[in-house]
Subunit: 496 residues, 2 copies
């Protein structure tokens, strides 16, 4: 390994270890470990930062950039130079405060959510928003302080671009939702029967395996809020949760995280032994190219595959074998109808496909308002509840089912929510492209065989890792970027 | 925090994170993660080493040592200066090779053990021994290359001191064992009934809790080879294993690891937020003062408490509640007799209390011979099997039940085995001291109340962490150090 690659590999080792500290904190760590865990994460991120800002790395990256003829190596050098620029703007003290705050806020959020008591989380969220504003100012911006925050997750997007895109999308979704609500609801009683958590976990593990998840390089655990995380492409873990009285959450949570995992597991190993660094700025050519592109893979697998009649034509018999009592009076058609029903609810991760983006848009508006100060943290529950009433016509009975439902803000993630909807838009774009360029994939998927589709996604997206930007990958698809047309067309076709 | 304490805290954060990487590798990591995990461990240990060898730390440690009037702070500075000296002697390259080798050897050992095929592990062990010899030479020694290896774990001991001590001990144990073998064996059939692993795990968790293990600061998991590990005194984890057809392994494995955990959890939090660094050289005043002192706490809890009639006078009813079918025809007296039976076997961690040290002495002799080259790795199975025949009169049917049974060598630990027997000697010394100085403790324990005994151990040993050496702690007990008299007296009293 040359000196440049060696330094980058060491930085990636540190960042992968930060990911393990975070996985452990969410899956296995005893409660009282939170504070010292915060110190550990802060120390490791601090060391990563020192290594990134070492002037010798900058010299090596510049030399690599000049010498590299291979575009992947060139892109790696660029990513490192961007990371150096990013970290040079953020003071070490701020980074350390953020890491320590995340650990405390994560524990407070879990407690607040369990007690449905926003006041437990409020001072932590105030600190998180304060630190986010300091970060935005340090990174610099012309317009909205949200811009540099969202660009950590989705390069190229701004508060303005997102507001315009999301306004068009919202305007397109609302009438489809109205129409769908006018139709008779399918039968859903059987979704709410008792499903033993252990059986759910075992069944979902089999489902993930059928979808190509490699358990030799991963594991499926239980978490309050499902997530995927990787410590190299050889160790890509997923989590889900098993509500005893509602089956779809486990199944679609697992399929969703499997979609993320397939992307990580599918990166070409030739790129590097390293890995992406999701909560800093990406280094080198492994891991997803952006959060939105990552989410496109999870949403594609969850919705375009996991909720399709074709998928269940192959899987329904196995589902009924796992839950013979609960599903004895349920037909395959009833199951498919139930998992595709439109029934706006309070919880984003349980939302039907059609109203899901309204949940996201609500959060993005709140994030923008928290960042520009037009909304105080103390007023968050009220603003949340008002938006839920306006967009979805629902009253929020308690904060656990309202503004405390998501883990993101407790982790210091502000600016990541837009990527969920960008994921939906991108998934629809990719499927539209594949329908034109390789219609056999859809035909195979309709017979329940997802292998050809996964192979195509591997070629089109996964193998490139970070070596191509989302814009570059999108340029290989037909149609304009960041446009809701394909997605609205898909939603109208399915629900209109 | 001052500059010195801040640097030490960061080093401890790195070393605690290495512990988490190792815990995860043994408990939760998917198999294919082993190689990249090796890189991660090596990178973090390398960074810890760089931080230890930073000349600024040495200056700060010298200044601290001069300025500190508090003996605990002084001892902290001394420990850091010793660590600097230790690391200055070992080349970075060797450290990195060891870390990478451990990850590979750990996976190979698990595979070799499962297949009972020494040839899978042999090349790895050859590499481990080669690296250990290089380490010994780098650390320097006058006599035996085993000396610097054992001193990492047990300062003050040498091949010569241990050979003399262990020869006396072996000569003392063999006649007691002969006499015990002549007596009729108690009934043990019920130990081998079917005990469902989940029930074992739940029961053992309750037992650990009864013995003072704080689940708010820890967790009990499953591992091939039980161990305790900590990532700060706020996060101290234990593992055990649940053989479906042999109950004592789970129970005494759990009590043993609980003993280790109580020591870690009982260190005075005033010392520092850091933690011990078991596989490098200790830094600062937290964690056990030596491996032998650590083992004294686990063996004391396992044998002096966990195998005593008094303990089971309080616990037997709960055990029978957990396993009503399996123990319906078993009396409390039969249970206590069975768990104290003398029946030499092949497996160290299942050995009866009387023959246990013979297993240890066998390993220590082999380690010494591997280090000085009088035994080749290829000849290890034969040497092992011959020693088992000579000391215990047993034939070894396969290597899984022979030289592949322990995890230690695969982790690069050579020189740690003697500390098991030092633990037994020290536990007997401590109990003899407490019987004289506070006879009420034994009386309470005989009624099943271990709280006073645990409080006394906390005062005598746990709270000091690394702030006092084993020699200093032993000086507060009666009688000579490193002498088998108390222990042989205890064994004769119980088994003679």
């Amino acid at each position: 390994m040359n000196a440049f690659a060696d330094r980058v590999a060491r930085i990636n080792d540190l960042l992968c270890t930060v990911n393990l500290l975070n996985w452990d904190a969410r899956v296995t760590m005893p409660k009282r470990g939170a504070e010292t865990r915060g110190h550990q994460v802060a120390t490791l991120k601090g060391l990563a930062r020192e290594a990134i800002l070492d002037p010798a790395l900058r010299d090596l990256a510049l030399a690599e950039h000049e010498a590299a003829h291979d575009p992947v190596r060139r892109r790696g050098a660029e990513a490192v130079l961007q990371a150096i620029d990013h970290h040079a703007r953020i003071p070490a003290k701020l980074l350390r405060m953020q890491a320590e705050r995340s650990a405390l806020a994560g524990a407070a959020w879990a407690e607040a959510r369990a007690a449905s008591d926003f006041s437990i989380f409020r001072p932590h969220l105030e600190a998180v928003v304060g630190l986010a504003r300091e970060t935005a100012d340090a990174l610099g911006h012309d317009g909205h302080s949200y811009d540099p925050m969202v660009q950590v997750f989705e390069p190229g997007e701004t508060a303005a671009s997102l507001s315009a895109l999301f306004d068009r999308l919202r305007a397109g979704i609302l009438p489809i939702l109205d129409a769908a609500r006018g139709r008779p609801a399918p039968r859903t009683d059987f979704l709410y029967r008792h499903y033993p958590p252990e059986t759910q976990q075992a069944y979902c593990a089999g489902l993930a395996r059928d979808l190509g998840y490699d358990f030799g390089r991963g594991r499926l655990d239980t978490a309050v809020h499902p997530f995927e995380i990787s410590f190299t492409r050889e160790d890509v873990r997923i989590t889900s949760r098993w509500r005893p009285d509602y089956l779809p959450m486990a199944i679609f949570g697992t399929i969703h995280e499997t979609g993320h995992a397939l992307y990580e597991m599918g990166v070409d190993p030739a790129h590097t032994r390293g890995v992406h660094a999701t909560d800093l700025v990406g280094l080198y050519a492994v891991g997803g190219t952006s959060f939105g592109m990552h989410e496109s893979q999870s949403r594609l697998l969850e919705n375009h595959v996991g909720r399709s009649p074709g998928f269940w034509s192959a899987q329904f018999a196995g589902l009924r074998d796992a839950f013979p009592e609960q599903l004895r009076d349920v037909s395959e058609a009833e199951w498919v109808a139930a998992i595709n029903r439109v029934e706006p609810g309070l919880i984003r991760v349980e939302a039907d496909e059609l109203s899901y983006d309204l949940h996201v848009i609500l959060r993005v508006r709140i994030e923008m308002a928290l960042m520009d100060g037009s909304l105080a943290v103390a007023d968050l529950p009220e603003a949340w509840n008002a938006a839920m009433r306006e967009d979805l016509g629902l009253s929020v009975p308690d904060d656990a089912r309202g503004c405390l439902q998501d883990v993101h803000w407790s982790s210091g993630y502000i600016g990541s929510f837009p990527t969920y909807t960008i994921g939906n838009l991108t998934a629809a774009r990719i499927m539209a492209h594949l329908d034109k360029s390789a219609p056999g994939l859809r035909a195979a998927a309709d017979r329940g065989d997802t292998a050809p589709l996964r192979a195509a996604l591997g070629q089109l997206v996964w193998r490139h890792g970070r070596s191509k930007s989302r814009a570059e990958l999108q340029a290989e698809l037909d149609g304009p970027a960041d446009d809701p047309t394909d997605y609205l067309g898909y939603l109208r076709g399915k629900f209109g």
